[in-house]
């Protein structure tokens, strides 16, 4: 009993408070999106619970139950059962093409009684747990080739299964584990290379090969001029530069080829929309155009709560789920979006700080996994509403409408907060 109260006392209330605030803001935005000034519904109306806002209220309530369940479990449960949890979700992912149902054109849902669950949403948590458990072994050193491969395998398995069920967006979330691995000792070259590849990918789509070639030459000559080291052994430098340029050029050719031949039509179009804002604004570019209109029309102070016209009148598709940020942008303006961005960054900072406070490597690694996943959603979701990211079915954590999404993020976060509350009970290894 004393341990119970102790545990509540050690709970990080800052994180819990921010979580509650995000959920509340999200619900308010969902309510605003369905709000009809001529027939306002209130929570005591029965019809309210057939609307998104009403259902989200149910999801929020059930999330509280989930939180209590997590806190009722022994903190050692997550480490001990990580392998089983992971295995269970891998099986679920394998089973979903055969046993699942189709919702919103995505054949990736399980129907259990009245509720539907998307296993891909929960597979992230399971992967984070297993990865943390694997790294908990003091023998594991991420500078070693073998350990890098095994970690990659843990991440790749669910990823491949999710890609198999056509959820490329959800699969890309797993790339965020690079943050976890980087914190746990993965050499900096890996994330560096990843970023370099992304830059190369984008620039080879945006720029002509000749432009890339010339800018590479300019960059190289700058290097040679600025850094005297390279001037000492000129022949070798030339060979190196030539090599790098050759690799970059061939990679960019491959990118072009991949985009034009490997990617599916809808994926190619999403990239086109991203690169050219005026591309087919009535059709493929409609979502981004409308999203930017909604946010852009908010101005500095916004149109006031419930005062938005773009989000309320369905001009922005998926406005309660993937495009919920539009409602905030339209109704609360620049002040609102800036506050949300700042608060979210503070939330991430808080979690990073807590993770580094952990004595056990399991809890710390898991914490960085949580931060990585949350950040990836933040990056892609807000990025796509303002046309900086391609459109993927990626919700904004805690804000977006949807049971699976809210539950999975709640579980993801509160497992970490549970572990954090038991930080002193854990053995440091």
């Amino acid at each position: 009993m004393s341990q119970e109260s102790n545990q509540i006392g050690k709970l990080d209330w800052i994180s819990v408070g921010l979580y509650a605030l995000f959920v509340l803001l999200g619900w308010m935005s969902i309510y605003s999106a369905v709000y009809n000034p001529e027939a306002p519904l209130w929570i005591f109306d029965e019809a309210f619970y057939t609307s998104n806002a009403g259902r989200q209220l149910i999801w929020i309530g059930t999330s509280l139950v989930l939180i209590m369940l997590i806190f009722a479990l022994d903190f050692r449960f997550f480490e001990s059962f990580a392998v089983f949890i992971y295995a269970a979700f891998i099986l679920a992912l394998i089973a979903v093409p055969f046993l699942g149902v189709t919702i919103n054109g995505s054949h990736s849902w399980f129907k259990l009684g009245g509720i539907t669950i998307q296993p891909a949403e929960f597979a992230k948590t399971a992967t984070a747990l297993l990865l943390a458990k694997y790294l908990n072994d003091p023998q594991v050193n991420l500078t070693k080739w073998m350990n890098q491969w095994r970690s990659a395998l843990i991440i790749a398995l669910p990823m491949v299964l999710i890609i198999g069920s056509n959820e490329t967006g959800s699969a890309l979330v797993f790339a965020s584990f690079i943050i976890l691995l980087y914190r746990e000792g993965l050499p900096g070259e890996y994330p560096g290379l990843l970023i370099a590849l992304i830059v190369l990918f984008v620039s080879s789509l945006l720029l002509s090969p000749l432009t890339i070639f010339i800018s590479l030459l300019v960059l190289a000559s700058l290097f040679v001029i600025i850094l005297p080291i390279y001037q000492r052994r000129l022949p070798q430098t030339y060979i190196r530069i030539a090599g790098v340029i050759a690799i970059v050029m061939s990679l960019s050719t491959i990118v072009d080829w991949v985009v034009n031949h490997i990617l599916k039509e809808h994926q190619r179009n999403r990239i086109k929309v991203l690169l050219d804002p005026s591309f087919d604004t009535r059709g493929l570019g409609y979502q981004v155009t409308q999203s930017k209109i909604a946010i852009g029309s908010g101005g500095f102070w916004g149109k006031g709560y419930l005062g938005g016209t773009q989000t309320k009148f369905d001009f922005v598709p998926e406005q309660s789920t993937d495009f919920i940020f539009c409602t905030i942008g339209e109704e609360f303006g620049f002040v609102g979006v800036m506050s949300v961005i700042v608060l979210f960054l503070y939330f991430l900072w808080r979690l990073l700080y807590l993770a580094d406070q952990q004595r056990s490597r399991f809890a710390r690694a898991y914490g960085f996994g949580v931060v990585g996943i949350l950040f990836f959603h933040f990056l892609v979701n807000i990025g796509m509403t303002i046309g900086l990211m391609p459109i993927m079915g990626i919700p904004l954590p805690f804000f977006s409408y949807g049971g699976s999404s809210l539950w999975s993020f709640t579980i993801l976060l509160f497992i970490f907060l549970k572990l954090d509350a038991h930080r002193s009970d854990m053995l440091s290894r």
Binding site: R183, G296, S297, D314, L352, I382, I386
Partner: protein
């Protein structure tokens, strides 16, 4: 190193956050186009165009009203046409046309209605009304065409048409939009603001499917529409139709005025056109045809056509001479010494009465010379200038050489030559004298008048020295408001007593003078004066001014018939028939009526007339 990596990771987060905030700043604070785009999305402007005002005649008979026509709109996203063939058959369009229209609508907007079929008649509408239920996404919007009870007043009424691009960009108060109808000419243009009323605007919020979602800003920006005001004209539409029928197969004008009020009873421009041709869906087609017609049926001649007044102007000379005290009713001039010819008439006692009765050219030659030279000093050049100065000041009072201010847009000034004018023509002061300008004496030379001016002149004679500016509309709207300008008498500066001899002369001109048998009305005391207007090409124009009855005149009239010769031949009989019709309500002289209704002078009509500078004198 571990602590450091956390910082590196967070710095990366921070960078992304800053990029987002930067982009937000650009979208929300910098680029205002998104606000407009948002309004364009969610706020629908609903325009209510009120019906245009109707037009009535002086007895309250309806002349112009509106017939609703129906425009079919399509909202592509909602439009479902399962059986295209049936649809096309119903609306009377081809499959290809259907595809083109649908494609155009899609290109405009998926959710906003765009025009599909224009100007469906009441009958078409009745046919499709019930079937429309089966075609969601199609809606009807009502507009109206001008409809005319009478075909006789087209030129004075003018017409209504879609506003053109130039007027659209030139407008001052930014009222009109593309596709709006606007009065182009005649009364429709002059009274445009009263007739059109005020367009109403409602702002409604709509969702992405175009479904209305309530008032925008609680309707604070809404403007309710104001119906167009009716016009109550002074025209007697029966008289107008009668005059119009007499002017068939002729080129010319008729203007009849009620002298006591300045109200225009009839204004005929011949040739005319059927006004309904320019009021329907075939506007462009008929406009092309009418605009290219060499007889120019679209022009409203009475206020704008240029003629010389001819002998009708002799009355002006008489009145000016009398007012200056240079002439008296007893002044006598013979034919001798005049370069102008005269036809045979009794000259034994050629006084002013006799001269008016027989339209004596030499008399007015001598009289005008006296008007210029009497009581003036210096050589003949100087005396001519002094004389013409005082002459032109008096003549200007009659409205010659300036606008009378009729309520039509196309009134022309005409020309009244004065000293300045001749100094310019002859290039210098004292370079001209009476012998250069004597053709003015009989209404030729550089004088230019319009039929409207001559009708007003007839009214001045009838009133013995004053007029009220002629006008077609006696009241606008429910309250029948009118500009005080059209209520205020204007004096011409000639004493009333001087008109007696003129009236007597004009009476005898009708009874046993220049007018002839066909211009006489047995039971009406009409006074008149013929004129023969010279023109460079072709036969003379026939001119006649008159008023009746002699005591307490009810109607003053001017008739111009182009290329019909001497004033007594065509203009006088036509004028007499119109006066008879107006005063008696019927015409007893059926033979004359039939003759002039069927008479055509078109064979003599020459196109592209210009004003003649050189002149040879005739009557």
């Amino acid at each position: 190193m571990p602590e450091g990596r956390r910082i590196i990771i967070f710095l990366f987060f921070l960078l992304i956050g800053l990029i987002f905030i930067g982009k937000m700043f650009y979208l929300q604070m910098f680029d205002s186009s998104y606000e407009k785009a948002a309004d364009n999305n969610a706020i629908r402007k609903i325009i209510q165009v009120p019906f245009r005002g109707e037009v009535y005649d002086r007895f309250g008979k309806l002349i112009v009203y509106n017939t609703p026509v129906y425009d079919l709109y399509i909202t592509p996203r909602k439009a479902i046409v399962k059986d295209t063939n049936r649809f096309c058959a119903l609306f009377g369009i081809t499959k290809g046309r259907f595809d083109t229209l649908t494609k155009e609508a899609w290109a405009y907007s998926r959710v906003k209605p765009s025009l599909f079929l224009k100007h469906l008649s009441k009958e078409d509408f009745a046919k499709i009304q019930d079937a429309l239920v089966d075609y969601p996404g199609f809606s009807i919007s009502t507009t109206a065409f001008r409809t005319y009870q009478s075909k006789a007043l087209s030129n004075a009424l003018g017409y209504v048409a879609e506003i053109n691009t130039n007027s659209l960009s030139d407008q001052k108060d930014d009222y009109y939009r593309q596709g709006d109808y606007v009065g182009i000419s005649g009364l429709e243009a002059f009274y445009e603001e009263a007739l059109r009323g005020q367009r109403g605007v409602k702002y409604r919020m709509v969702n992405s499917n175009g479904v209305e979602k309530g008032e925008y800003r609680h309707g604070d920006l809404d403007v309710s529409s104001v119906a167009g005001q009716n016009l109550f004209t002074s025209v007697d539409i029966r008289l107008q139709e009668y005059a119009d029928s007499l002017m068939m197969h002729k080129v010319g004008s008729v203007v009849a005025i009620e002298p006591s009020t300045g109200e225009i009873l009839s204004m005929v421009s011949a040739p005319s056109y059927d006004p309904s041709l320019l009021a329907g869906r075939n506007f462009s087609k008929y406009y092309q045809i009418l605009a290219l017609d060499p007889l120019k049926p679209l022009i409203n001649r009475p206020p704008s056509a240029y003629y010389r007044p001819g002998s009708t102007f002799k009355i002006v000379q008489a009145l000016v001479g009398l007012q200056l005290g240079i002439l008296t009713p007893g002044s006598v001039f013979t034919h001798a010494g005049a370069p102008v010819k005269c036809h045979v008439h009794n000259t034994s006692h050629n006084d002013l009465h006799n001269a008016i009765q027989w339209s004596c050219n030499p008399y007015f030659y001598h009289a005008f010379r006296k008007i210029l030279y009497d009581n003036t000093q210096g050589d003949t050049f100087e005396r001519s200038a002094q004389g013409l100065q005082r002459w032109s000041e008096l003549v200007a009072n009659f409205g010659f050489g300036r606008k009378l201010g009729v309520d039509l847009g196309n009134e022309k000034k005409g020309n009244l030559p004065d000293v300045e004018y001749y100094n310019k023509v002859y290039k210098g002061e004292n370079t001209w004298k009476f012998s250069n300008i004597y053709s003015l004496s009989i209404g030729e030379g550089e004088l230019v008048v319009s039929p409207l001016k001559m009708a007003n002149f007839a009214a001045i004679i009838a009133n013995k020295g004053w007029y009220i500016p002629p006008h077609l509309v006696k009241g606008v709207g429910e309250k029948k408001t009118i500009d005080p300008f059209y209520k205020t008498p204007v004096s011409v500066g000639i004493d009333a007593k001087h008109f007696n001899v003129v009236h007597e002369g004009m009476r005898d001109a009708v009874l046993q003078g220049t007018v002839g048998r066909e211009g006489k009305i047995p039971d009406i005391v009409m006074c008149g004066k013929t004129g023969t207007s010279q023109n460079q090409k072709g036969k003379d124009h026939s001119v006649f001014i008159a008023f009746a009855p002699k005591d307490n005149p009810k109607i003053a009239i001017a008739v111009f018939v182009e290329n019909a010769g001497f004033g007594g031949f065509a203009a006088a009989p036509i004028a007499s028939l119109i006066i008879e019709k107006y005063l008696k309500g019927r015409v007893d002289r059926k033979d004359i009526e039939t003759k002039f209704m069927n008479m055509s002078y078109l064979a003599n009509v020459t196109y592209n007339r210009r004003i003649v500078k050189k002149d040879s004198l005739k009557r």
